[in-house]
């Protein structure tokens, strides 16, 4: 079973087209068939299926330097592709799918070219302990996809530059990348050519699965289908992966940690809010959520809501006095007293437990309120 072997190579460097072609092959694959698909992307950061874009790469820098950002169907971490990278994809129906056989085909191709390739526990292929290939997998509608990268001559400076968190690193919900020590195959064999690597892959694919590769030719109907799928991969919603429901994303890094508010507004009021933060303050997400729900989505209303006096620290002292003034005068000046609440004497360790925590929380809420008052609430 699974012995009709088909090979196809993309003639495009467009990451969205290439991912669309892959998905198209997945849904066209029949029982008894195995497909090997080879493709390359222009300079692109490719995110894993469930990663937070802003947490994985410096989005502004990508834009400035004209680097594409794409998101694949499979899981795992972000990778950087350029024309020095060759991607391979194995596609088969569930009963024909054979990950160990497919890995063996890649390993045999590399070994045949003289590389000391070995499989690691973590979906990687290593050469002398450094990663030259990462693999990821997805299953949909009974079809399975196993794809991987092969670093031939990737710009490693670009890898460093574009695969790092933006200045605004957040603790967003999502799958975080794992860093690896990587290497290019050309470090081991400087004269390696892309075409010989492709040929080696096709030939070991045939050897492992017993057959010869028949070229898969796309029809006009295929091209139309791929064009439709390309729209999915190129859509900002797919790429940036904002939770569909939350139309506003407010994000800010403070001295004590980052906060991202994902806000869903219905009829002008906050109908739902998700708080992502890496602040050490216990209970901060719950407090913010509680204070923001049902509040008009307007700067001064949000400001007042977040400053809402906490019953436990409400006492006639300097701090609450300032807070009240702030609430009455939602302007630029009013923000200042609350920042004062974050002075080291408020945060100093050694104060009595509950009071110290409550005061710190009040200070933090003060800073957040000030930010909401001054910031942009746009989409």
């Amino acid at each position: 079973m699974g012995n009709r072997l088909k090979c196809i190579e993309s003639g495009s460097l467009d990451p969205y087209y290439n991912l669309a072609l892959e998905e198209h092959l997945l849904y066209c694959c029949r029982e008894g068939e195995r497909i090997l698909y080879l493709w390359q992307n222009e300079k692109t950061v490719v995110l894993g299926r469930n990663q937070d874009a802003a947490s994985e790469c410096p989005l502004e820098l990508l834009k400035r330097d004209g680097i594409c950002l794409a998101r694949r169907n499979s899981g795992g971490g972000a990778v950087y592709h350029d024309s020095g990278n060759l991607n391979y994809t194995f596609i088969a129906r569930e009963r024909d799918y054979d990950v160990p056989g497919q890995m063996e085909a890649v390993l045999a191709a590399l070994r045949g070219l003289g590389f000391p390739a070995e499989f690691s526990g973590r979906n990687d292929i290593l050469a002398e302990g450094r990663k030259v290939s990462g693999n990821a997998f997805f299953i949909s509608g009974g079809s399975c996809c196993h794809h991987g990268t092969l670093m031939v001559d990737v710009d490693l400076n670009a890898v460093e530059k574009y695969l790092r968190p933006g200045a605004d690193k957040l603790a967003a919900r999502g799958v975080a990348s794992v860093r690896s020590r990587v290497a290019n195959l050309r470090e081991f064999r400087p004269r390696l050519r892309l075409d010989e690597l492709k040929e080696a892959l096709r030939s070991s694919f045939g050897q492992v699965f017993g057959g010869s590769c028949e070229a898969l030719v796309l029809s006009e109907a295929d091209s139309a289908g791929i064009g439709k799928r390309r729209e999915k991969f190129a859509a900002p919603r797919w790429v940036y992966g904002e939770p569909e429901k939350y139309e506003h994303r407010l994000s800010r890094r403070f001295s004590w940690g980052g906060v991202t508010l994902w806000v869903y507004v219905e009829q002008g009021v906050v109908a739902d809010v998700r708080v992502d933060t890496d602040a050490m303050e216990p209970g901060l997400p719950e407090v913010l959520r509680e204070r923001l729900l049902g509040v008009p989505y307007k700067k001064d209303a949000l400001y007042q809501a977040v400053l809402q006096p906490d019953q436990e620290v409400l006492r006639p002292d300097k701090e609450s006095l300032h807070r009240d003034q702030g609430a009455l005068q939602p302007d630029k000046e009013a923000v200042q007293p609350h920042q004062a609440a974050l002075q080291p004497d408020w945060m100093a360790p050694g104060k009595i437990g509950g009071m110290e925590e409550a005061a710190a929380l009040t200070g933090i809420c003060g800073e957040i309120a000030g930010w909401l008052l001054k910031g942009q609430l746009g989409g």
């Binding site: 299926r49 469930n50 499979s74 997805f138 299953i139």
Partner: protein
């Protein structure tokens, strides 16, 4: 392999059980053991319509991203939001870590009893063991 008698099963390894006129849906112990460490779960939203045999969400594990199919057709009444924050719960306690609660059920996919699902997986009948 844990297969609970109070649930029905699909060949795509989801469980469902009726509670108070609605249906809870999750993935089976077998599914979670095949997936390995689950790192992310994509869930639909309340009010979404699900179709028997069709995917309604996705699970990402350290190995693979895989569809999750609905055993029934109906409307999503509730979504297990805390599960999205702690996806590993689907590994630890798959039959309590429900994904969605479906109401207005109009149709079901091919369902297996616990015993049939055990046979399907080629597992010994634990009930008698």
């Amino acid at each position: 392999m844990n297969i609970r008698d109070d649930c029905n099963y699909t060949k795509t390894h989801q469980w469902m059980r009726e509670e108070n006129g609605t249906v809870l849906v999750g993935i089976t112990d077998y599914a979670q053991s095949q997936l390995g460490g689950i790192v992310f779960i994509n869930l639909p939203e309340v009010g979404d319509v699900v179709t028997a045999g069709e995917p309604f969400g996705e699970v990402e594990s350290t190995k693979v991203v895989s569809d999750v199919h609905s055993p029934v057709s109906g409307t999503v009444k509730a979504v297990n939001e805390p599960l999205a924050d702690e996806p590993e719960r689907a590994n630890e306690d798959p039959y309590e870590a429900w994904f969605i609660e479906v109401g207005n059920v109009t149709d079901t996919a091919e369902l297996l009893t616990a015993r049939e699902y055990r046979d399907y997986l080629g597992q010994p009948d634990e009930k008698k063991a």
